[in-house]
């Protein structure tokens, strides 16, 4: 799903979780400790390895990753229509992100699948509240799904 770049009425799924680029794509924003290099997502203010709050920098994360494990969810809360494929995706920064997979059939999902980030509206906006911008991962184009 490509997000409408004209829209300025969205809020992120959680504050500071991601940013929208000029072309409408999204980037996940983690944090990285300058001291030990550990990257966190969602971002942390204090490095839990160094216990140092002084050297945490904002860290835009890679868009491509690999499925570490997944499940086809058949029963969930009402706000999550089933079925959906839920996965832990490993990113090159050494970060593991929980995300739904978009446009991946239950049969096609597999460990080791190469996936890429895509923005997704997780709640539609209305007169009272802005739309919520989250994200999914989808199969890297040309890798089959």
């Amino acid at each position: 799903m490509v997000v409408n770049a004209e829209s300025s009425t969205w809020v992120p799924l959680l504050p500071g979780l991601l940013r929208q680029e000029d072309d409408g794509s999204v980037t996940l924003l983690g944090s990285r400790c300058e001291g030990c290099g550990t990257t966190y997502f969602p971002a942390m203010k204090i490095c839990v390895r160094c216990l140092s709050p002084e050297r945490m920098l904002s860290a835009p994360l890679s868009r491509r990753g690999t499925v570490y494990t997944f499940s086809v969810v058949r029963q969930s809360l009402p706000e999550f229509p089933t079925p959906y494929v839920l996965a832990y995706v490993d990113l090159p920064e050494g970060v593991r992100v929980l995300s739904q997979l978009a446009d991946v059939s239950p049969e096609a999902a597999h460990i080791g699948m190469e996936v890429e980030l895509v923005g997704a509206i997780t709640r539609k906006g209305d007169a009272d509240q802005p739309e919520v911008l989250g994200f999914r991962f989808r199969c890297v184009t040309g890798k089959g799904s």
Partner: protein, 397 residues
């Protein structure tokens, strides 16, 4: 072992001179769907049964600890008022699925510290009036917002176990078959009927590869235990004391990075503390009640406890070694999968089962000759941390 783990071990290793703790009375209600019963009602029944079992004057109880998750404010005091114990110090504890075990931990510490000699620990939960299907995760948690459910977490961990060790869906399903068979021998259990492997495999998929019969049910129930110091056991001539050799409580660490989800460091760490405190090792444990909220969870627990080498538990179950009468019976009560899972009551009911087994009062599910049993609970999941709370109790005959 990291510096932090060594520190935890040094801090929590057995302290010479602290009073020994015994379980002298146990009681529980029927577990199951009982939407017309209140927490006060269920709690009263369990507490009264434990007091009767201990055969002591209720006025000897000096303090109470009450574990629960969703029962609202001051549920412990509301129960105590029903049994003539209002007025004593009551502490309500919430630690997700380890709440009841954390209540026992509180009572254990009070006696070890020399502050109390007779303490009541109870757990109570009414869920069926509140939830249908999966429990709702905490709002605002990043993973909850992504569509995480508890079954999906244990499904994803199961898939890693399958990938790493060649575990099969049938092997996982056999955990449910075993536990529901044990439950059919337990009059307090929610499920009264044994099931076949085919029935488990054919049950509705919830979060693949986990099926409905591999998920613990929504339950109502309560359980209680009376704890005593060694001094009180002698002074009050307790009839049937069982040694509570150790209770350990730890929380999950925040682990950034790419950890092995087919293994549970939290269970492993907590077990090291419990074994050190009790002065025993995994080889001394004759049977265990472990937190089988899902079939795959039992695998992760037993391997995390070091009772069976990593990756081998599914084949251990398949060979019948975890059955009552096997090498190492696991969840003889029926576990969460068979007995039911009223969150706050679960950890206390595990200790009730250990005591009944060690006293030789477990009837048709009696394990022969076991000298030491272990109860393991863990619960809760939040983004970044492996698990919220883990508790392990070791009891010896």
């Amino acid at each position: 072992m990291s510096d932090q783990e060594q520190f935890v071990m040094a801090e929590q290793a057995d302290r010479g001179g602290a009073p020994a703790v015994y379980v002298v009375g146990v009681g529980m209600t029927q577990f199951g769907k009982q939407p017309d019963r209140t927490p006060e009602d269920l709690g009263r029944e369990a507490v009264w049964a434990a007091l009767q079992d201990a055969a002591i004057d209720p006025r000897k109880i000096e303090a109470a600890y009450c574990g629960h998750v969703y029962q609202g404010m001051a549920v412990g005091q509301r129960v105590m008022a029903q049994v003539g114990l209002a007025g004593i110090p009551v502490t309500n504890v919430e630690n997700v699925c380890s709440s009841g075990a954390t209540a026992i931990h509180g009572g254990y510490l009070a006696i070890r510290a020399g502050e109390c000699d007779v303490v009541l620990a109870l757990g109570v939960e009414c869920l069926t009036g509140r939830f249908r299907g999966a429990l709702a995760p905490e709002e605002g948690d990043f993973e909850a917002l992504q569509g995480m459910t508890m079954p999906s977490i244990y499904a994803m961990r199961a898939r890693r176990h399958m990938e790493t060790y060649g575990t099969t869906a049938e092997q996982l399903a056999r955990v449910s078959v075993k536990n529901k068979r044990n439950a059919s021998l337990n009059p307090y259990a929610q499920f009264k009927k044994a099931v076949t492997l085919e029935e488990v495999m054919a049950s509705r998929p919830i979060a693949e590869p986990l099926k409905l019969m591999e998920c613990s049910p929504v339950s109502d129930g309560a359980a209680a235990v009376v704890l005593m110091s060694e001094r009180a056991v002698r002074a009050l001539a307790a009839r049937k004391p069982t040694r509570l050799a150790a209770v350990a409580l730890l929380s999950g660490t925040y682990e950034p990075g790419l950890t092995d989800m087919a293994f549970e460091p939290l269970t492993w760490r907590t077990a090291q503390v419990a074994y050190a405190r009790a002065g025993v090792g995994p080889e001394d444990i004759g049977f265990a009640e472990v937190h089988d909220c899902f079939s795959s969870a039992e695998v992760l627990r037993v391997e995390g406890l070091g009772l069976v080498p990593r990756g081998e538990y599914p084949r251990f179950v398949e060979a019948g070694h975890a059955d009552i009468g096997g090498k190492l019976p696991i969840n003889p009560s029926g576990g969460l999968l068979g007995k039911g899972h009223p969150l706050g009551a679960t950890g206390v009911a595990q200790v009730v089962e250990l005591v009944r087994q060690l006293r030789g009062e477990a009837g048709p599910r009696q394990i022969d000759g076991a000298k030491a049993g272990l109860a393991h609970c863990r619960g809760g999941k939040a983004a970044g941390i492996e698990g919220a709370a883990c508790t392990i109790a070791i009891l010896t005959a």
